[in-house]
Symmetry: C2
Subunit: 197 residues, 2 copies
DNA sequence: ACCTGAACACCGTTCAAGT
DNA sequence: ACCTGAACACCGTTCAAGT
């Protein structure tokens, strides 16, 4: 490989084309030919940079949820833990819409359930995200903002699971009002973190 | 079609073979040839009873979650609403395991996110299940078993979403202890339905 | 009326031939 | 060193030929 920097750039170019196709048609239905057409290269050129279609899928799967991690910064900035979680939920639910990346997210789950490599990738991410939320809960407890009868780790897992479940349902339905969903999610967060005495 | 009853029987036989293959290899990776070998028929025979592979997938998708509906009967029998929900969660989490039907469930979500026909099928089921849970919550409120600061429909949706999210995560991880997961789910149900006064 | 299985079109992947 | 694009193996679907 003569120029590693150039190779990386070409890889990113191809991944960009792949993302575009996967979003529109899903992993199964997009062909290598589709991706090559979108990236304006030949199959041979693609296979010099990626071993097979699965490698493209794994790369995209890792990227898609990485964006969620970026939103986590909002948790620390928020004036209130529950408001922070509400914002996190809003951005996730808005993104993983039936008309947006919802179907892609569903594809990613399916891929992870069958391919151990993708599974490990997503699990590591999940644990980071969950840890971050658990830390925010602990902080809120210290500040007296949260009573948290539930252990922080358990609460974090429940909050993530519920958000994933809601996002999946949204991917299936036409896009119902995000506001209603966020309101429901807020209720969940309140009940888990601030039980009435 | 000479004998409709025989045709139905043959359809069921083929669907049985398809389920077996889909469970093991997933929708994408199983070939028509696989299914034909499992059912001991020729491709031509299969295509006289099913229009295409998608029809097989849709049929299996509809069936897999129908079993969950059957478990709902436990809700009414349970001595306590939260215990009933706990049992529902246990049976769902046990079934949709990484070594069980978890990967199949993930495939089904992905299919529903792309195919409107499958989506409508799952949504109708979901609404029935949710309605059933909401009704159980309302009953518990009347009996004074649940305080339910949350509207029954919202609580039902949150409980279902969280269960789906947890099941998906289980499909990805190796099978962690079901007991821990069920315990967490119980905590969720308690906090949503019985806020401490 | 129903089936078989060869044939066809399509898709993931490779590799001989080019620059 | 890198690319092109024809070629190969495989898979979903069809249909001529059989019973």
């Amino acid at each position: 490989m003569a120029d590693p920097a150039l190779a990386l750039q070409r890889r990113l170019h191809i991944l960009d084309a792949a993302l575009h196709c996967f979003r529109e048609r899903g992993f199964r239905q997009t062909t290598i030919e589709d991706i090559c057409a979108e990236a304006r290269i030949s199959p041979g050129a693609l296979y010099r940079l990626f071993a097979n279609k699965g490698e493209l899928i794994a790369a995209i799967a890792g990227e898609a949820r990485a964006d969620v991690e970026a939103v986590l910064g909002q948790l620390d900035v928020a004036e209130d833990l529950v408001s922070g979680l509400e914002r996190l939920a809003r951005s996730a639910l808005e993104r993983f819409d039936a008309d947006g990346d919802g179907p892609l997210l569903a594809d990613i789950w399916a891929e992870a359930a069958r391919d151990p490599h993708t599974a490990k990738l997503l699990l590591t991410q999940d644990q980071r995200i969950q840890g971050r939320i658990a830390a925010a809960i602990r902080l809120a407890q210290v500040n007296g903002q949260a009573h948290a009868a539930v252990p922080p780790e358990d609460a974090a897992e429940l909050l993530m699971s519920a958000l994933d479940g809601m996002a999946l349902r949204r991917a299936m339905r036409g896009s119902a009002s995000v506001d209603d969903e966020v309101r429901r999610y807020r209720v969940l967060a309140l009940h888990l973190l601030k039980p009435k005495r």
